[in-house]
């Protein structure tokens, strides 16, 4: 089934990622300033309000010396507020720009695979008469001019000009430009390994490729636009959150607009600059500023894991997944079964069985055969000289393999029924032995293993069964823990396998998956997904073959392997460049982390308002009502310094949280209640307390400024 990458999921990430450094802020500054254009700002209502406020206070600050009116608390107060409001907007843009910059670095490395190359387009390709396009005329065109359905010829050393399927030939291809994996892979026409990606290089042989994507619309192109933030469409949860933030902003606009006339009744009407400062402090600027950076960074993290997503929506859906479908072979178990023990019949010395098993497998090149030899050597088998023996290869008819010695002796291993039949040709099995053999075979089968019988024929022509080799599916290391993690996250894992229910149950139990689908056909798989979805579950799966395509399309998160067919890649909404099916688990984590980061920073942002009220309200009204000074629990220096400090804190906290927004809030696989408890404590309670400390510290600095 799939080619398993040797790379561990946590392998070195792509270029441009890595830790956040202050230098990135500086680099992103010009873009941040350009983003001040109101035409792009209005898309973010919260920050747009701040920008309007900044513009208004600037006008007030300029007019103040002339009108003399509203010369509020301190001469430089309005100007100070204006300056910090502009900084607030710029910091918000900075967050987005930094995220985009990092995305751009990713995009650049992706784009380098996509540079225009020369393509040899076949004119009038005819698959019947000239499948290999040996005689057909070819024209040189730029890869950018290739159209859907064009057929090109690529020879050794050439770069494949676009995404497509091999329709003729076989070649080894260097895909390191896309996957970072240096070992070449084999691609051939027909079957599940026919897809090639534009920008990869053919190392040997010659292939004919049918182009399956329009220029500029390949998977890589779409991904580039996503990580750059250009084609970033808001995801459903992001839209809902934006609505909530807009509603909160409207509430606070009403609060501030009505405060003037209401306070006017008590002759305590605050100046416009102070009201704007209050508004900016109250509306959720922190999350408003960081929201798009969080989204871009989420995509970015996915790319670092070598996964390309078609849309942000798919990433978000990954966080919601409740059912994970995993193929047994290649995902849960290593692709090949391995010999795990030798079970000798009564009266057969164990060493005889081991020696015979080894002898029967010396010429068996399959992984199963090799594993038998390895196990036998481990158990100290005597290596018999078999140089003059005739190899009897495995065939679908005989279903066994082994050696024939020139002296008439022979050794066989194979399917139990074939071996007993082979033995019975000369010496029918006694009832007792048959029953014992049957018991062993059933034991092996029910534990999820595959039994292979071993028999020998001596030089006199007498044959007997020695025992059974237990071939076993080996569950990959660490998977049991990962499934336990998934269970704690509330995700049910279902193993898909072509094995019989007995074997499937045993492996499912060993791997710790919650359920299994045995003897599965592609139709069964599709039906299972539909059934799960009808129960309200969100289903994620991986697949690579063309017959996986319908299921990939039906699943809420369908991850196609890069080694898979174009059909599979088209049907899924993500492609894993490493072709590592266990990556699904990482994708789920990234999806969850994206939501958690948004929710936590929103909570933090709203919780901040408490402290800001305690800074600004006494500052606004204590002149009219000295009693309200009691609310000044931070003992801020003066009204002017209190308000300015609140605004400065509000701006600086955005910068302080950029690294967190880019990195994402830490996520551990524990139950929902524990995650909530932890995040409420850090971001809820922390959000209440942090600004009290922050504003007080800033106030200590501001109070040094003369006048404040």
């Amino acid at each position: 089934m799939t080619t398993i990458s040797t790379r561990h999921p946590a392998a070195p990430s792509r270029a441009g990622a890595g830790t956040f450094s202050p230098r990135q802020l500086l680099r992103a500054l010009p873009a941040a300033v350009r983003k001040l254009d109101p035409r792009s700002m209005w898309r973010n209502p919260v920050m747009f309000i701040v920008e309007v406020g900044a513009a208004l206070t600037t006008v007030l600050a300029v007019l103040e010396p002339f009108t003399g009116s509203g010369a509020a608390l301190v001469p430089t107060f309005t100007a100070g507020i204006a300056a910090w409001l502009w900084l607030t907007v710029i910091f918000a843009n900075l967050a987005e720009s930094v995220a985009e910059d990092r995305g751009k670095a990713q995009a650049a490395s992706l784009r380098s695979t996509r540079t225009s190359t020369l393509a040899l387009r076949v004119t009038g390709y005819d698959e019947k008469t000239d499948a290999g396009a040996q005689q057909s005329a070819v024209t040189e065109v730029s890869s950018a001019d290739l159209r859907l359905g064009d057929v090109v010829v690529v020879s050794a050393g050439q770069v494949i000009p676009g995404d497509g399927d091999i329709i003729w030939g076989i070649a080894s291809v260097d895909e390191s430009a896309i996957t970072g994996e240096s070992a070449p892979v084999v691609r051939e026409s027909g079957g599940d390994r026919s897809a090639v990606t534009g920008g990869t290089r053919v190392l040997s042989d010659r292939i004919v490729v049918a182009i399956t994507s329009k220029p500029g619309e390949t998977f890589v192109d779409r991904m580039i636009r996503l990580v750059e933030g250009a084609a970033r469409q808001k995801t459903p949860n992001e839209i809902a959150l934006n609505i909530l933030l807009a509603a909160l902003s409207i509430v606070f606009v009403v609060v501030v607009l009505t405060l003037g006339p209401i306070a006017g009744y008590s002759d305590a009407a605050p100046s416009v600059a102070v009201l704007i400062a209050l508004l900016v402090c109250l509306i959720p600027t922190t999350i408003g500023a960081l929201l798009s950076a969080i989204g871009i960074a989420g995509m970015d993290r996915l790319v670092q894991h070598n996964v390309l997503a078609m849309s942000g929506r798919a990433v978000e859906a990954a966080g919601d997944v409740t059912t994970l479908l995993l193929d047994k072979t290649g995902t849960i178990t290593y692709g090949n079964r391995r010999a795990s023990e030798f079970l000798a019949l009564t009266g057969v010395p164990a060493s005889d069985l081991v020696d015979a098993a080894r002898a029967s497998s010396t010429s068996d090149p399959t992984p199963e055969g090799t594993s038998v030899v390895e196990l036998a050597d481990e158990l100290g088998a005597t290596v018999a000289d078999a140089a003059d023996a005739t190899v009897v290869p495995f065939t679908a008819q005989t279903r066994m393999s082994g050696l024939d010695h020139p002296d008439g002796g022979a050794v066989r291993k194979g399917a139990v029924s074939s071996i007993t039949a082979w033995v019975a040709e000369t010496d029918p099995l006694s009832d007792g032995l048959a029953a014992e053999l049957d018991a062993i075979v059933t034991g092996v089968s029910s534990s999820g293993g595959t039994p292979l019988a071993v028999a020998v024929r001596d030089t006199y022509g007498h044959a007997r069964v020695l025992g059974v080799i237990h071939l076993k599916d080996i569950v990959k290391d660490g998977l049991v823990d990962r499934f336990a993690d998934l269970r704690r996250m509330g995700i049910r894992t279902v193993m898909i396998t072509g094995d019989n229910p007995l074997t499937a149950r045993a492996i499912a139990a060993e791997a710790g998956v919650d359920d299994f689908l045995a003897e599965a056909t592609p139709e069964d798989k599709l039906a299972l997904i539909r059934r799960e979805q009808e129960g309200g579950n969100l289903v994620a799966m991986t697949g690579d073959g063309t017959n996986d395509a319908p299921a990939l399309a039906q699943a809420d998160v369908g991850v196609a392997m890069n080694t898979g067919t174009s059909a599979a890649k088209e049907a899924g909404n993500m492609v894993d460049l490493d072709s590592d099916p266990t990556k699904l688990i990482d994708i789920v984590r990234i999806g969850k982390q994206l939501l958690i980061t948004r929710g936590s920073l929103t909570t933090f942002s709203i919780a901040n308002d408490v402290a800001k009220y305690f800074a600004i309200i006494p500052a606004m009204f204590a002149a009219a009502f000295p009693g309200l000074e009691a609310l000044n629990i931070m003992q801020l220096h003066s009204p002017a310094s209190a308000i300015l400090s609140a605004i400065i804190f509000n701006a600086l906290v955005i910068v302080a949280l950029i690294p967190l927004a880019l990195r994402g809030v830490r996520y551990r696989a524990v139950g929902a209640s524990r995650i909530l408890q932890r995040n409420l404590l850090i971001y809820g309670l922390g959000g209440v307390i942090a600004p009290f400390i922050g504003i007080k510290l800033i106030d200590l600095l501001v109070s040094i400024i003369p006048g404040f």
Binding site: P236, N237, I239, A240, L241, I243, L244, A246, A247, I250, V251, F252, V254, V255, L257, T258, L259, G260, P261, I262, A263, G264, Y265, S266, L278, E316, G319, D320, T322, R487, M489, G490, I491, G536, N537, Q593, L595, I596, R598, G599, T602, I606, A607, D609, V610, Y613, I617, M620, F625, P626, G627, L628, L631, A672, I675, L676, Q677, N679, L680, G684
Partner: protein, 558 residues
């Protein structure tokens, strides 16, 4: 008895009585709203109004029915007041003025029962009984119906309908409110509340002076006034009047009556969604807020500063000696936090902080436990918001009772929480912003100058927009501006939220149910209760802190 012991004992009595009634009443109401059989009297009435009781309604149809029924109610009550002099048993009272009729009609149909007038001097028995008392019943039934529709929205899966408004209205009235009122009216009469149709009676007091004593069907009015969280008194003095509320015993009974249905509805909710724990969580949220609020108000009144309060052992101004401070603050808390608005003491005379608590109770959005039905749907909307934030924080698309909370739900919940603060703040601000209005308000309406006068206006708009109906009595509200503005605030404060709630119910009903897993945020645990309380407090505190600072806080801290 020390005040603390008194407070604890009264509160414990209250909790005990409510606990006894909780299960049977909650389960009974669930049965009422889920049953398929119709009573004979109901069938007759359905035929009379031409309703097909077995037809289910989509949310727009349900909403149209609510609005049509309510608007017709407003028109009828308005017309009755305007035509009062021609009605029988009008006690010879004249027609009511335009703006006052407008205000009163809206007030009773919206379950607010704000009274800009002195009932015994303005309305005869005909309007009181055929107009206002009828609305006392049906406006309460409308509230429960809307709440039940929202609960159905949460309980149903991929459904296009929310039930039938006319059936919900009918059953709420016939099977819940009327029988309960009869029982409680008898208990009130037993407690000494009057019940007659005697009109005014001249008596000669012991000192020989003449006095006019009003009579009336008080006990029957009183029962539904409290049970339906209406609050409109038969007399101007409301439950401070000895004919409405003669003894500490009836006082406690009335407190129980106000809380009875809103509290038991949480059980109904748990029953109907098939998970009683969800109902308990909502009840716990309400309970914590209620007890905290009652304790704070009582503490504020007991600590009332000044020489007179010190001599009386607390701020006794405006309170009835027979209820004492605890009886008054418990009633005051209950009344303001259930959207009843009845008073057994004058909130205007409370200490600045005590009166401020009455305002805060309303500003919480009337959710702890709030008005009949309205409290439940209000808190469920808040729970949806809490779930949204919490859900994001656990890394899943937020869901409540298996219903995903998406953009549409948040839009509706956001609009819901936007309405009342906007009405309160804009109404108050306009009262001071428009020069002519400002003159009128400061010269005619406001009794106390400065800060307390501001609190009176703020209180009035808070009360109206939240459909509470209690007043800082110092305010003269029977002016064209306040009658109109408060009328509009009551109307929008009732029906805009209902529109959003029913739309939300429709949207939830149509959604699929996501199965609960370990990754699902449980919504029946203390953590979630705390989170919901936090959301209630945060939403209201952040909105009202500045105006509270300018009113009760400034007054109390100076």
């Amino acid at each position: 008895m020390p005040p603390l012991v008194q407070f604890v004992l009264q509160l414990a009595t209250l909790i005990l009585v409510l606990a006894i009634a909780y299960r049977p009443l909650g389960d009974y109401m669930a049965a009422v709203y889920t049953g398929t059989r119709h009573l004979r009297v109901e069938r007759g009435l359905y035929r009379l109004i031409g309703v097909q009781p077995d037809g289910e309604q989509s949310w727009p149809a349900y909403l149209r029915s609510v609005l049509a029924f309510s608007v017709v109610g407003i028109v009828i009550v308005y017309a009755m007041q305007r035509l009062q002099e021609w009605l029988p048993w009008a006690l010879g009272l004249p027609a009511v003025g335009e703006s006052l009729s407008f205000n009163t009609a809206i007030s009773f149909v919206t379950n607010t029962n704000w009274q800009s007038y002195s009932p015994e001097l303005t309305l005869g028995y005909s309007v009181q009984l055929a107009g206002l008392a009828v609305q006392n019943f049906v406006s309460a039934a409308v509230g429960i119906a809307v709440a039940v529709a929202l609960v159905r929205g949460l309980a149903r899966t991929r459904s296009g309908t929310l039930g039938n408004f006319w059936v919900d209205l009918m059953r709420g009235t016939v099977r819940i409110l009327v029988p309960l009122s009869v029982v409680f009216a008898i208990m009130l009469i037993a407690g000494g509340v009057i019940q007659n149709l005697d009109g005014f009676r001249e008596i000669t007091t012991l000192t020989g002076a003449g006095q006019t004593l009003p009579g009336g069907p008080v006990a029957s009015q009183e029962a539904i006034k409290e049970l339906g969280t209406n609050g409109g008194g038969f007399f101007n003095a409301n439950s401070a009047h000895p004919f409405e509320n003669p003894t500490p015993w009836t006082n406690m009974l009335q407190i129980v009556m106000m809380l009875l249905i809103p509290v038991a509805l949480t059980r109904t909710f748990g029953r109907m969604v098939g998970d009683l724990r969800q109902g308990y969580a909502i009840l716990a949220t309400m309970g914590v807020l209620f007890i905290t609020s009652a304790a704070l108000m009582t503490a504020a009144e007991l600590a009332g500063a000044g020489s007179a309060p010190a001599a009386a052992g607390g701020a006794m101004e405006g309170k009835e000696a027979r209820f004492g401070i605890i009886g008054s603050t418990l009633f005051g808390t209950t009344s303001t936090i259930t959207s009843t608005g009845a008073v057994d003491s004058m909130h205007d005379s409370y200490t600045a902080f005590g009166g401020g608590m009455a305002m805060v109770n309303m500003m919480l959005g009337e959710v702890a436990p709030g008005g009949v039905g309205a409290g439940l749907y209000g808190l469920l909307v808040i729970a949806v918001l809490a779930v949204f934030l919490a859900g994001l924080m656990v890394g899943r698309t937020p869901e409540y009772l298996g219903k995903k909370i998406g953009a549409r739900e948040i839009k509706l919940a956001g609009l819901y929480i936007l309405v009342t603060p906007a009405l309160v703040l804009i109404g108050t601000a306009l009262s001071f912003a428009i020069p002519a209005v400002r003159n009128d308000v400061t010269s005619t309406s406001i009794w106390n100058p400065r800060l307390h006068g501001f609190s009176e206006v703020l209180y009035a708009f808070t009360s109206a927009a939240n459909n509470n109906g209690s007043a800082f009595a110092g305010l003269t509200a029977n002016t064209p501006w306040l009658n109109t503005a408060l009328g509009v605030a009551m109307f929008l404060g009732r029906f805009l939220p209902i529109i959003f709630v029913l739309a939300l119910a429709g949207s939830l009903a149509s959604r699929d149910r996501v199965p609960a897993t370990a990754g699902t945020l449980p919504t029946h645990r203390p953590l979630f209760v705390g989170l919901t309380i936090g959301t209630v407090l945060l939403v209201s505190a952040l909105t009202y802190f500045p105006v509270l600072a300018l009113g009760p806080l400034a007054e109390g801290l100076n």
